[in-house]
Amino acid sequence: MSAVTERIYIFKWFERFWHWSQALLIILMAITGFEIHGSYSLFGFQSAIDIHVYSAWILIVLWVFTIFWHLTTGEYKHYIPTWQGLVQQILYYMQGIFTGAPHPFHPSAKAKHNPLQRIAYLMLKVMMIPLIWASGLLYLFYSDWAALGLVQLGLTLEQVAVVHVIAAFLLLLFLIAHLYLITTGATVLQFTKAMITGWEDVPVDPSEQPKP
């Protein structure tokens, strides 16, 4: 394929910093979290708790900045779901990707994510992560429940722990799918490179190609 491509700057430095530090923290919290859950013994329960809780606080700070960044720069718009191109994207993953059909979606400064990505990331941001945050914070502040009136509501540590673990499994599912789907670029590492450097080679729309 000899389509004309151009390099565009998609992922800004803060976005990349956020992505990679968040990735690191979440993986660390998954490793320590499942130790706390009792799935295996690695750091020892006490150290696992410490790492888990410190990571959580760092991630909270990161998220406060990130939410601010999304709102002030308008970046949140990349996560507004759209019907446009959704069916084509699904069909592409089911068929076109095997037959070598061209990608139906090309990122641009206006839309970095394909319609499926938008939905997936939105789900991550408004469902899975809030779920794990809310249950995690309740877990962390278990001893203050009485003061907050939560014990009287019938909330138990067990319920919170179960929700937290379910959310953790959902995040792991997301991670597996995510790790696979980032290999579906023109080359296996195309998307990963973009997230490291910020730059991505995208085919230039023929209508917008400069006339020879």
């Binding site: 130790e35 859950h37 009792g38 013994s41 993953y93 037959t99 179960v162 379910i166 597996i176």
Partner: protein, 540 residues
């Protein structure tokens, strides 16, 4: 001389200054115990060659003229405790798993009572009489020897081996208890760990036999055994926590205040022998550890094991094998490797344990004890006392307990535990005649229980709350004792607990891992197809 206000103040200031100097100078010497204000060796009334322990008492009360009245009102005299809920407890009324009851054995039980012998019939309580002051106020540590031996206590009450081992020790090391009664009378003072221990360390038939957390190793304990009582620690004696008002002591196990106590001690409300009285309920440096104190009692982590001082406690007492005599028809004693009595004709088989791990239970402070003639549990083990509490009542905390199994006689017709008549000159006494039927008949009669004449033995269990032998913090249980895959799962058999790290929801892990595997297979399959089709395109 009357001093006016302005003169009094500077004088008081001077006195305060001098007293402070004196105090600072004395501080290393006095440690926890205040210096007494009377030197008993100088009292004229005590310059007397006492030959009888009752004579000493007469001398004591000549000055301490209300002491006896005070004592008569206490559980130490009455052996009778009426609880707020109306239950009538105390040694006189409840049974235990060792020498199961007082009723028919009052003569021998009198050797531990702080008077001078008990009446034969105790159904109406213990009447006021002369009090044996030295039982608690001897400071020499030798008085109990005279008391028990002069008072005609049954050897087997204190010595499992009928004193055989003690005789051997005397033969080798000579007589240990040589002070005269007069010397003891002149050295009276505040109670010590040894005086309290002369009864409370040796109950249950031998040193440390009964409680597990109370034995003679606490008289001069290492720091690692008990941080409070060790000279390297707080250097406490029993009465540092079990304080008294008018001879009434605090900290009876019939009324456990430890559970509901979440306040520091107030001088206005009197002494309370609980951890929280001094330490508060958030005493640790780590806040997450402090967060545990709403459901985990201090004792649970800070008494990781008990009977740690080299003195074993009884874990099993099998009365059913008692009565086997030697060829010469005399009672016999067998010792185990550690030199402890594993069999005695008087008592049956016994097993011991050191460094034992407690069992843990929810406890709301109420312990239900039972009276002689308690019903036998036909389904299994009969509980001599029942620990009250649950995970749901909002009060209970998880406490550590020592448990002993005892095989006790019961009436097979009425299914009731039977009191044993152990001591006395009659052949009806088990330690005399070795005849269960006669012994149970007399025991039952004394306790007011019917005995049909048919009996057998049944397994019982008794629980003792553990409060002593508090270990240094380095030895306290850590997170990993209860949490995490690598933990030993110490609290696994405590009901109603969700313990993070103990994998209590297998369904959650099953479906979670299944979902992960399916997702992985999905993407792996998709990737494999992608690779295959890509390869085929290249071939064409």
């Amino acid at each position: 001389m009357m001093l006016n206000h302005s003169e009094r103040l500077p004088l008081a200031g001077w006195r305060f200054f001098l007293a402070s100097l004196l105090l600072i100078g004395l501080l290393p010497a006095v440690a926890a115990v205040a210096a007494p204000t009377a030197d008993h060796s100088q009292f004229e009334v005590l310059q007397f060659p006492f030959t009888d322990i009752e004579q000493i008492n007469t001398a004591c009360v000549a000055c301490h003229n209300v002491a006896e009245d005070q004592l008569h009102k206490t559980i130490h005299w009455q052996w009778d405790a009426v609880l707020e809920n109306g239950e009538q407890y105390g040694k006189l009324n409840v049974i235990n798993a060792y020498h199961p009851n007082v009723a028919s054995n009052s003569e021998a039980c009198g050797s531990c009572h702080i008077g001078f012998g008990l009446a034969k019939k105790l159904t109406d309580g213990i009447a006021p009489a002369a009090v044996d002051c030295l039982a608690c106020h001897d400071t020499s540590g030798e008085y109990f020897y005279f008391r028990f031996h002069q008072d005609g206590a049954e050897c087997a009450m204190c010595h499992d081996d009928g004193a055989a081992a003690m005789k051997q020790r005397v033969k080798e090391q000579g007589e240990k208890y040589t002070l005269s009664l007069t010397a003891m009378a002149q050295s009276t003072g505040a109670t010590t760990t040894a005086t309290c221990g002369s009864c409370h360390f040796y109950d249950g038939g031998a040193d440390g036999a009964k409680h597990g957390d109370l034995d003679s190793s606490l008289i001069q304990p290492e720091f690692a055994l008990d941080v409070h009582m060790s000279a390297d620690g707080a250097n406490f004696s029993c009465s540092s926590c079990h304080q008294s008002v008018d001879h009434q002591l605090f900290g009876s196990r019939y009324e456990a205040h430890s559970v509901g106590d979440d306040q520091g001690v107030s001088a206005l409300t009197g002494a309370r022998a609980t951890c929280v009285s001094c330490h508060g309920d958030r005493p640790m440096q780590d806040d997450k550890l402090n967060d545990h104190t709403d459901v985990i009692a201090c004792q649970t982590c800070h008494i990781p094991t008990y009977a740690r001082g080299g003195v074993a406690t009884k874990t099993l007492w099998n009365w059913s094998t008692a009565g086997e005599l030697s060829r010469s028809k005399r009672p016999k004693v067998e010792l185990n490797e550690a030199g402890r009595v594993s069999y005695a004709s008087q008592k049956g088989n016994m097993e011991y344990g050191e460094n034992l791990k407690p069992v843990y239970r929810w406890f709301n402070g109420d312990m239900v004890f039972k009276a002689p003639g308690a019903d036998v549990n036909a389904e299994g083990v009969t509980l001599i006392n029942e620990i009250q509490g649950s995970s749901r009542d909002g009060i209970s905390k998880i406490f550590p307990f020592h448990q002993i199994t005892s095989i006790l006689p019961y009436d097979t017709q009425s299914d009731q535990l039977m009191p044993i008549n152990l001591v006395g000159r009659s052949r009806d006494a088990y330690w005399n005649g070795y005849d269960w039927k006669k012994s149970l008949k007399v025991g039952a009669k004394a306790a007011g229980v019917e005995f049909s004449g048919d009996f057998d033995f049944t397994e019982t269990q008794m629980s003792w709350a553990l409060n002593h032998m508090v270990a240094p913090k380095e030895q306290a249980l850590s997170c990993n004792a209860c949490h995490g895959k690598g933990s030993v799962g110490l609290l696994d058999d405590v009901e109603g607990l969700y313990i993070p790290g103990r994998l209590q929801h297998s369904w959650l892990d099953r479906y979670g891992v299944l979902a992960l595997i399916l997702t992985f297979l999905g993407v792996a399959g998709h990737g494999a197809l992608r690779a295959y089709f890509g390869w085929r395109r290249k071939q064409q």
